[in-house]
Structure formats: C-alpha cells, structure tokens
Amino acid sequence: MRTALLLGILGAACGGGVAGGGAGPGAGPGEPHDVASVRLFDSTGGELTFHIPLFDSVPLRIVVQMYAANGRHLTSVTGGQDMQFAFTPAGLASSTPVTGQPLARDVLSVAPPGTGGTLDVTLHFPADTSTKTFRGFEVLVH
C-alpha cells in the first residue's frame, strides 16, 4: 500500500511538472551574424537535412531555414540574403530560383540513378557583405 502511495505521489508530481518544461528557443528575426546553421526541408516541411533524395526527372523544391547557435529559427535577417547552391560533383544536379522565395530552389537531378554527392549552401548577406557556406549535405539520385 505504501509502495503504491509513494509511486502515485511521484507520478502525479512528475506529470504536473512536465507540461511546463523545455519550451524551446522559439523563432523570430535576427542579424546576419546570428546565422550559425541551416536545415533543409521540402515543400511539405519534411526534413532533408540528413538526406536529399533526387528522383530522375522529378524536380525537388528545397527550402533552407536559418538557425542561430542556440537553435532558434531565424525567420529572416536584417537586409535579407542571397543564396547559391553548389553540387559536388558539379554534374550531379542543377537548381533554379523560386520566384518570391529567396530561400528556396527547385533542384533537378542531372546524373544517372545511383549517383551520390553533396550540396553546399552559400548565403550572402548584403547588410554586412558577409558570406557563409554550409557544406556537405548528402545527395543521392534514386
């Protein structure tokens, strides 16, 4: 009986506290120097950071999201940014800008299925004329 009572108290106390814990860093605007990492998503919000699958002749929209060092999502930076994609090997895939979405590119495979490589994302910030390159996102043509 005492065992059950003690465990009940423990569980009840725990459940009440969890709801308020770990709220996360949230999202908002920032400065160019705040950008510490980027993550890649498809048009539906699916994460592509760990693996970018390209299917022969099927364009894939890649949306880049910027993050501060503490993990906060930077929805925009002062002065905006320009973005370039570079594939290794160069003949792996091609990308084209998306009108009205400066942090998105439509990517189309060029190499045959089975070819792997990487994508480097370069951001240029006119506000302070700085440039940051994030290298090594893995790409595979299926």
Binding site: T3, G11, V18, G22, S37, G71
Partner: protein, 427 residues
C-alpha cells in the same frame, strides 16, 4: 500539451505492474544469484535480454513462488529536475522510470521464462524526452529534436526464453521477442549495477546498447557455466517516434556475441552485428556495429567498461565510443557514482551538417551522490544529485556557449532496497 488523464495513465502503468507482485505471501531480496537455473547458473545473471552480468552483481528485486512459477519484479523510478546550461540551456521536471517482471518455471526438462518491461516515460518525460546536451538528434514531428534523450517505449520488452541442458556442462537456449534485445551490446545501462543510481543515458548509448528495444528478436544460444555463444536475427530499426505503440515486427539484421564469466565478479563480452538501413527515430544507412565490455562487481562496488562503435557502410573508419562507469554503495545508505565518456559524433548526430566538421570528438565527465532517506518494506527512496561536465571542441563553442557546457540533475529515486544475500521476510 499534456492533460490530466495522460498523467493518470502513466501512474497507472507503474502501479499496476508493481501491484502484480503483491498477492504473493512473501517477498525476498533477489541478490547475488539466489535462484539457480540451467547448469546451476543464477537466474540473475541474465541482466538484460540474454546478456550476462557478473554473478556477484546486486539485482535488488522481489521474488515469490506461485505453484511451479517463480516470479520476480524489479524496477527503478526517478523524479528528477534536469537543468542543462549554456547556449542550449533547457530544463525539465520529469521522471525516468521502468518496471520489469519475470516469470519462470521448469518445463520439459528445461526452464521456461517470460519477461516484460514497461515504462511510463512517454508521459512522464513527454515524447520529446529530457534535455541532455550533445545527445544524438532525432526526427520528431517532421523536424529534428536536438540535445534531448528520447523516452523509452511503454513496452520495451515482451519475451519468452527457453533453456535446456544438452548434457552436464552444455545447454542451449532460444529467446524470442516481439519487442526485446538482440545479442548486440553489453547489458543495457538500465540494468547495469554500475548505473543503478544514475538516471541519465550514456552519450554513447546509440553505438552501444540502443538495440535493447528492437521490435522483433530471435536469439539462439549455446552455453556452459562460464561461456555463452549466441546469434540473433532482429529488427535493426530504432522504434518510431510514437513510443506508445507496437512497431511492425521484422527480422532484417543480425548479430553475434560471445560472453565470458571467468568468476563470480567478472563478466566480459564481445559482439558484432549488421544493421539494415532503417527509418524510425534514428534513420541510418546500413551499418556494422561492434564492441566489447567488461563488467565487474566486488561487494558493493560495480564498474563497467564499454567500447562500442558504428561503421556505416562505405565509411572508411568506425565511429568509436568508450564508457567507464562505476558505483560504490557505502553502508547501504550512501551511493557515489560516476561516468566518463568519449564519443565520436557526426555533424548529423548534432543536426549541424554544414556548420561544423563532419566528425567531432566529445567527452563527458559525470559525478553523482545519493543519500537514502527512507526505507520501508520492499522499497527505498533516496535523494541524489548528478553533475556533468561536457568537453567539446572549439568549433562547437558557438553552439554550446563554452567548451565545457554543464548539466545538473537533482532527483528523488524509488527502487527496491539493497539487503544482504538471501534475506527473506514475511509480509
């Protein structure tokens, strides 16, 4: 968003399982191999899955006889306040907890054993788990959760095992589990006496004993009193992010392990396995995993040394991890414990692809102390504190605020209390 009924469900899971032991007329402390099984091997040597502990390892729990059945229940519950400091600071009040029930009886000249393990952590830690700097990032809800350790599944083991002697010195076993642990890795940290007072998952968990919850396991073994050779086919996918369901069972990966108990105080093991490419909470390409462990217990002092490594297909070198952990119980009322770890993380592990080098060397030193504050009947409770000093390379300084980000836990632990060998008490 949590609600009252999920909290109630969490409590109910724990209490219901523990209550299952209450109808028996007596309980005893189950330590130091009180039950002799096949070939005279103590039943308590089976630390987790089919992995061996030293026979001298304490395994506090309650057992009773019910007809031909021998029943045993043991578990661990922490109520902890977890605070991680630095740029990625976070905190949480939560509970790490689990309960295991074992039932065994003689059958057809051998030993038939059923085992189940449950946890309420999906509710008491939330499905995002608890804050832990530098832990492996996981997909969740279409995004990635970083610097947190996931909760365990509500059901992390349901297994049946049968052992039968093939002579006076050799026996064979079969272990089958819709969800269970293959012959890959050491005794999982949850069941190591060297981590009995430590609520925190090792940073190297994902290259050492992460397969302790695999949805689909079949293991065949041959063993003597001191040597065990076994092979498993199992599901190489980590459980999906819904920790309350049963994942599809499949057998797409394989492993083999050799365990050796040269004396009552020692247990050593080496293992190697191949994991098929998978989804789940840890998406990975096909990889090989291998490692070795040495566990030692002398009196109330238990220590574990574990090496584990992943070798992803096509990679030129393994991603190594090394763990040394120890726990010393002093006069039953005090426990001092510590853990030292080295892990080789990838940028993907930290969700920092493109921002840092592809691989990074991480270290962590943890030290803890627990003071027992209460003991009654089968249960003891203690107050504890645990601090961790993480060691990261310079390029991670911007992401963690320093090269030595720290974490702190304050906790209340409830567990079966430790008593001397073979004590039996009437209720």
């Amino acid at each position: 968003m949590k609600s009252w009924y999920t909290d109630a469900a969490a409590v109910a899971v724990v209490i219901t399982v523990l209550a299952s032991a209450s109808p028996v007329s007596a309980y005893t402390q189950h330590e130091h191999g009180g039950e002799q099984g096949t070939l005279g091997i103590p039943s308590t040597r089976l630390g987790s899955g089919t992995a061996w502990l030293p026979d001298a390892a304490p395994l506090p729990g309650y057992h009773a006889s019910l007809g031909r059945w021998t029943l045993m229940v043991h578990g661990n519950a922490f109520l902890q306040y977890d605070r991680q400091f630095g740029t990625r600071a976070d905190d949480q009040l939560g509970s790490v907890n689990w309960v295991m029930a074992v039932a065994e009886r003689p059958e057809a000249g051998g030993t038939l054993r059923f085992r189940a393990m449950v946890s309420a952590e999906p509710w008491t830690l939330t499905v995002r788990g608890y804050p832990q700097l530098l832990q492996v990032a996981e997909p969740y809800g279409g995004g990635i959760v970083t610097d947190r350790q996931h909760p365990h599944d509500v059901v992390s083991e349901t297994a049946v095992m049968y052992e039968h002697a093939l002579g006076t010195s050799v026996a064979a076993s079969v272990y089958a589990a819709p969800v269970g642990e293959p012959a890959l890795g050491p005794v999982t940290y949850l069941h190591r006496p060297s981590a009995a007072y430590d609520p925190v998952t090792p940073l190297g968990h994902h290259a050492q004993d992460v397969t302790h919850t695999s949805f689909g396991v079949v293991t065949l073994g041959v063993f003597t009193r001191s040597l065990r050779v076994e092979a498993s086919s199992f599901n190489g996918a980590h459980p999906d992010e819904d920790r309350t369901d049963f994942d599809p069972v499949r057998l797409d990966s394989y492993a083999t392990r050799v365990s050796w108990n040269p004396g009552a105080e020692w247990s050593a093991a080496v293992w190697i396995g191949h994991l098929a490419a998978s989804g789940g909470a840890h998406v990975h390409d096909a990889l090989d995993r291998f490692g070795a462990s040495v566990l030692h217990t002398r009196g109330s002092w238990s220590t574990a040394l574990v090496y584990g490594a992943d070798l992803p297909s096509g990679a030129g070198h393994p991603l190594n991890t090394l763990l040394l952990e120890t726990t010393l119980e002093l006069h039953e009322a005090n426990a001092i414990f510590g853990r030292a770890e080295y892990v080789r993380r990838t940028a993907a592990d930290l969700a920092l692809i493109g921002s840092v080098s592809r691989e990074l060397d991480i270290g962590a030193l943890s030290l803890g102390y627990e003071r027992r504050i209460w003991r009654r009947g089968p249960l003891a409770a203690g107050l504890g504190a645990r601090g961790t000093l993480n060691l990261v390379p310079e390029e991670l300084r911007p992401f963690y605020g320093s090269r030595t980000p720290v974490g702190l836990l304050l906790y209340l632990q409830a567990r079966p209390h430790s008593r001397p060998l073979g004590v039996r008490m009437d209720m």
